[in-house]
């Protein structure tokens, strides 16, 4: 697991056999489509890349598996500065988030708030402050749900959706990947 640091290898970037940004985005899109759907699994083959996706807790231990001749870009090979956009989750995040928590199964239609960049997640403004959000809290799109720090720059993470916090997936002080799900929001639950 990423712990605020990651391995490096003299800046050597080895991309052979790894996925392109576009392929990664397609995979992330498929994962999200699966999460929104009522299906337990999905098997596709695109341009020779065979991909089997399943919901946590159903298909073995891993939420996603790739055919053996294709490997995901290693952490040291991924240029971190390029992993900026929240939508462009690196494949390591969803692929490595296995059945620890049932992914979205409990809350069909829950909206995800993802880390905009790799860093340390803080759920509180400082150790003596109350958390930005708690379970059941109502948030608006611009509500700050946490901070992600990298090199003493503290980036506020907006909820991005209006609704109610139904799951908090990251702990205060935890290292997070770009694109990692930080919490889930149920929209339109305000009246429930």
């Amino acid at each position: 697991m990423f712990s605020g640091t990651e391995p490096w290898s003299d800046g050597v970037t080895d991309n052979e056999g790894s996925l392109t940004e576009r392929e990664v985005q397609r995979i992330v899109g498929l994962i999200e489509a699966l999460e929104r759907s009522s299906f337990d699994g999905l098997e596709v083959e695109i341009d020779g890349l065979k991909l089997t996706l399943g919901r946590g807790g159903t298909a073995g231990s891993s939420a996603a598996s790739l055919s053996p001749n294709v490997r995901l870009p290693s952490q040291s090979a991924a240029p971190p500065a390029k992993t900026a956009a929240p939508q462009a989750a690196p494949p390591t995040a969803p692929a490595k988030a296995p059945a620890a928590k049932p992914q979205g199964a409990a809350q069909p239609g829950a909206l995800e708030v993802r880390a905009p960049l790799r860093g340390i997640f803080y759920g509180r403004a400082d150790p003596s402050s109350p958390p930005f959000v708690t379970l059941g809290a109502k948030v608006s799109a611009i509500s700050t749900i946490g901070l992600v720090e990298v090199m003493k720059v503290f980036n506020a993470v907006p909820a991005g959706h209006e609704g109610e916090v139904v799951e908090i997936c990251a702990e205060d002080g935890q290292a997070v990947e770009a694109g990692q799900v930080l919490l889930r929001i149920a929209s339109g639950k305000a009246s429930a």
């Binding site: 605020g4 990651e6 956009a85 090199m151």
Partner: protein, 252 residues
């Protein structure tokens, strides 16, 4: 008089006798749609704070300022602007210090004089839904007349280091140097910043302790990478450090 302050074109001074936090004020301006280039300056900051809510004493006589910027970049790229801030502070202080006490940099953005911290820098940002920055606040404190005692990392002030400068001189030159290095960063990328930072950095090549939120690492500070991360060689392997406090280990 603040009206006589000289700032580079595009910067606008907002001065206060007292604020709890110039960063909070600049963040509020950022969220309210104020233009980039606002310079929030408070003559004292009774409830100042640093990283993770640590106290940063703010008596009168020191500099407390925050720049509001709106760079068209991602939050990840904004991390490099902390190094820009360190260069700005170091170069703003240098002309007012004795020849032998050149400011040095400690990862990622501490500025040291004679091995002691003379400045505190805290950056805060918020992104738009498209992943680009909405605003970035660069908070800078410089110990001009006085410094706190009993801090975790020893502190100093310009006055205690034999320097002579007024707060307004430092405000002017810090903004000017920030503007200069921000322009270099926009034009030439982080490499220009990295080189300038490395040429006056402490700890590079030597043993350091890195305190992370939940772990302490020890190893050799091998290099600063092209994104600003600290490359650490440890007995358990090489690590790329993105957040933490660095303490150089004195050679024994």
């Amino acid at each position: 008089m603040t009206a006589s302050l000289r700032l580079p074109p595009g910067y606008r001074l907002l001065d206060y006798d007292e604020l709890d936090s110039t960063n909070d004020e600049a963040k509020r301006l950022g969220a309210d749609g104020a233009p980039a280039g606002c310079v929030v300056w408070a003559k004292s900051q009774p409830n100042g704070r640093g990283r993770r809510g640590r106290r940063w004493d703010g008596p009168p006589g020191n500099l407390y300022m925050s720049l509001l910027l709106r760079p068209a970049h991602s939050p990840a790229a904004a991390a490099q602007l902390g190094f820009v801030a360190a260069l700005a502070v170091g170069e703003a202080c240098a002309p007012f210090l004795p020849e032998a006490t050149k400011p040095r940099y400690k990862w990622p953005n501490d500025v040291l004089v004679s091995g002691r911290k003379v400045s505190g820098i805290l950056l805060e940002s918020s992104a738009l839904p498209d992943g680009m920055l909405d605003w970035l606040v660069v908070g800078i404190g410089i110990n001009v007349a006085s410094h706190p005692a009993g801090t975790e990392f020893p502190a100093t002030s310009l006055a205690a280091s034999g320097g002579t400068a007024t707060v307004t001189q430092l405000l002017e030159s810090t903004v000017a140097r920030y503007h200069h290095w921000m322009g270099r960063w926009e034009a030439a990328g982080f490499e220009a910043i990295r080189e300038a930072w490395l040429s006056n950095a402490i700890g590079v090549g030597g043993k350091v302790t890195v305190r992370l939120e939940r772990q302490v690492l020890e190893g050799r500070f091998a290099d600063l990478d092209r994104d600003g991360a600290l490359l650490l060689e440890t007995d358990e392997g090489n690590r790329r450090v993105l957040a933490g406090d660095v303490f150089p280990v004195a050679a024994s």
